[in-house]
Amino acid sequence: MLTLAERRRGIGAGLTVLIAVILFVGTAVVTLLAWDGDQSASRLFTAYTWSILRFTLLQAALSTLLSILFAIPVALALARRPGFPGRVWIVRLMALPMGLPALVGALGLLGVWGRQGVLNGWLTAAGLEQPVSVYGLSGILLAHTFFNIPLAVRLLLAVLERLPAEYWLLSASLGMKPFSIFRFVEWPALARVVPGVAGLIFMLCATSFTLVLVLGGGPAATTLEVAIYQALRFDFDPPRAIALAFLQITVTAAVVGLVTLLPAATDMVRTAGRSIQRLDGRSGPSRLWDFFVIAAAVIFVASPLLSVLAAGLRADLWKLVTGPRFIQAATTSLAIAVTAGTIAVTASLAILNARQAIRDRRDPNLAERLLSTSLAGTSSLVLVIPPIILGTGWFLVLRQFGNVGDFAPYLVAIINALMALPFAVRVLEPALEDHRRQTARLAAALGIGGIDKWRLVDIPVLLRPILTALSFAMALSLGDLGAVALFGSSDLVTLPWLVYSSLSSYRTNDADGLALILGVVCLFLTILGTAGRKEHNNV
């Protein structure tokens, strides 16, 4: 029930974002293709290309399946137990892996699961002669579930927590059994978002690079992203790189499209907004099960992080923090993260508003429907565009206007914002939908609009999801090494860059320490992202 002006403004903003994204990506691709270089000597697609395409899809599909399967019981258990000891910290823990550079995560995982890790230590003590090796598909799946189960848990939990209090009252008064509650209350809510979350995780895993190479054990386990990287970096063969990138984007789009076509989207009723009290799950076995599930998830996610912590504490942290480059790197990283996060959240709000404005119309015309679909597609598929293509393309564009080093931080921030866009959209979408459903009519009836509506109606409710989305986006940007690192200048130093720089100068200890600091910064961010949660539970 938007006014005509509101609808126009919403659609206009969405269209602007769409055009901006298309121009940004398009400029990079066109510039690269127009680059007057050597003719591509090698054939575009070889038998090897097809075999890595197969492997890319296989590992991504399995990683997604496992992540979702394990995340659902954890999210259900956490939603059922609002009073679980340390719950808010468990939720924060789930946001930490995202902010870690992939390599740091991999080293942490190997501290637990590796040949010399804790588990193999126990197995050897128990009399096993050869260590159990995780390298290969199992290692890749382990790493991808470590990074993505927490992501899925957070996104699913957010949906479960928004279920109206009436549902729980009703299911209690009907005496519904746990399975019935799952079938009639929880699953319909989850089903709304599972396809989207699965699509997101699939894209993350399909474009995985460092994790796949380090834990995959060899070139049999590799992704298209590696081939794209080689084509641009070693061979400098832009046509081949772009052909491979198109293959990656098309195939991923097809898979993600199929997943999101799955029937979903059940509408929820309006609620009186009373405080939520879970009346189910009081039985002993139910408590035991939830405790077991939550504990298992915490151990799985926390143990590699503890290994990062243990390694980091061995470094001379004080000397690191007071080192000449640290302050510069930390400031740069934070400035980039804030910029990227702000852009991502603003763009997501514009996209979601536009889609809502279009849906608000009784019968949207073809152009509007097309716009809505393009917005949905763009806001997820940007994730599979290899950053190295954007970085190299924009390098070529910007060097005509001066020193590329001067533009680098803005470029990194924009690329990071694009990468974070799908996450921000996933976090904001359900919250925004519920909010509109509950307030749209009333606001229209009261004639509140514009700034007043934002201030009085939207901000109080949407602040929390916006902060969560912002912290997601910022954590993602903090952990990113930066596409421009490949063409970087010594003036652009970020925290992950410092981690790699220490490693490439034999300073493993310093790298461990810096990784720990990066983890702590992310922890602060997630505290920001979960602010106000406690107050909500106490009501």
Binding site: G37, S42, T46, Y48, L103, L107, L110, R115, Q116, S133, Y135, F209, T210, L213, V214, G216, G218, P219, A220, V226, Y229, Q230, L232, R233, F234, F236, A311, G323, P324, Q328, T331, T332, L334, A335, I336, V338, T339, T342, T392, F395, R399, N403, G405, D406, A408, P409, L486, F487, G488, S489, S490, D491, L492, S501, L503, S504, S505, Y506, R507, T508
Partner: protein
Amino acid sequence: MRGMSTILIVAAAAAFTPFSVQAEEKTLTVYTYESFTSDWGPGPKIKAEFEKTCACTLNFVGVADGVALLTRLKLEGAESQADIALGLDTSLISEAKATGLFQPSGVDATAVKVPGNYSDDTFIPYDYGHFAVIYDTQTIKNPPKSLKDLVEGDASQKIAIQDPRTSTPGLGLLLWVKAVYGDKAPEAWAKLKDRVLTVTPGWSESYGLFTKGEVPMVLSYTTSPAYHMVEEKTDRYQAASFSDGHYIQIEVAATLKNAMDKDLAKSFLTFLVSPAAQGIIPTTNWMMPAAATSTPLPDAFDKLVKPGKTLLIGSDEVAKNRQAWIDEWLTAMSRK
């Protein structure tokens, strides 16, 4: 919110403003790889020493590695700001020459002496290193004594190597195996495959796995133990001496055709191979000096493996066959 982010953007922009260049002072821009310019690398010391003599400002621009350096020069072409490219290696020289961006250095490089007597009038060697298998003496009691030993040895003693598609040491091992095995290289890789724990995208990842104890052997340089001996005072990590030879990586610097001040560029390259600069390189870049040094090397360098035989494939041959050899490697390593 918006006000806040604007402030941060401005602050960020201020932090990134490059050193202001004074009009009257000459400037020399050197493109190099990142670890050369890092706080621990030779960059800061070289800059300080050279600026004492040249009445100029020396600017380093650091990219990821030698490969990224060449790519960057190709991208920028004739409009590049670079006067000097520092950090290409012997397997890239042919490709670098083909760009037509470089010019003969005019530097008297008679003092430069690298194994295999590599010399070139355009690309001046400033340091070198032999690739080697570094092992952890606490786990490995009988290190391999030759490449053949490594290939055919106990497959339960694992090694971490790098991907030749993304890393220079990775390409180095590929060429090493090729130099020793020739046409039999695919068979050698098929055997070595069982011994390879994992193939990492770059040197840093595999060396990190190694120092964390995850893998007892790693492909690196004969000079790596010097770092641990000098900086960490430990001789736990040692290089395995191979009787069938070690493949060499020679790092070179060159003047670009469109360097602003050719004389300044020439004096920098002359400085680079002078004893003063050569004395800085070993304990900052952890490579062997290419010419006499002002101060004797630390004792640790005497304890390093001195390869009896140096292997090197000409860079023309590398450029011609690199893709075919990488495909060969992919096939051999992907086989189940």
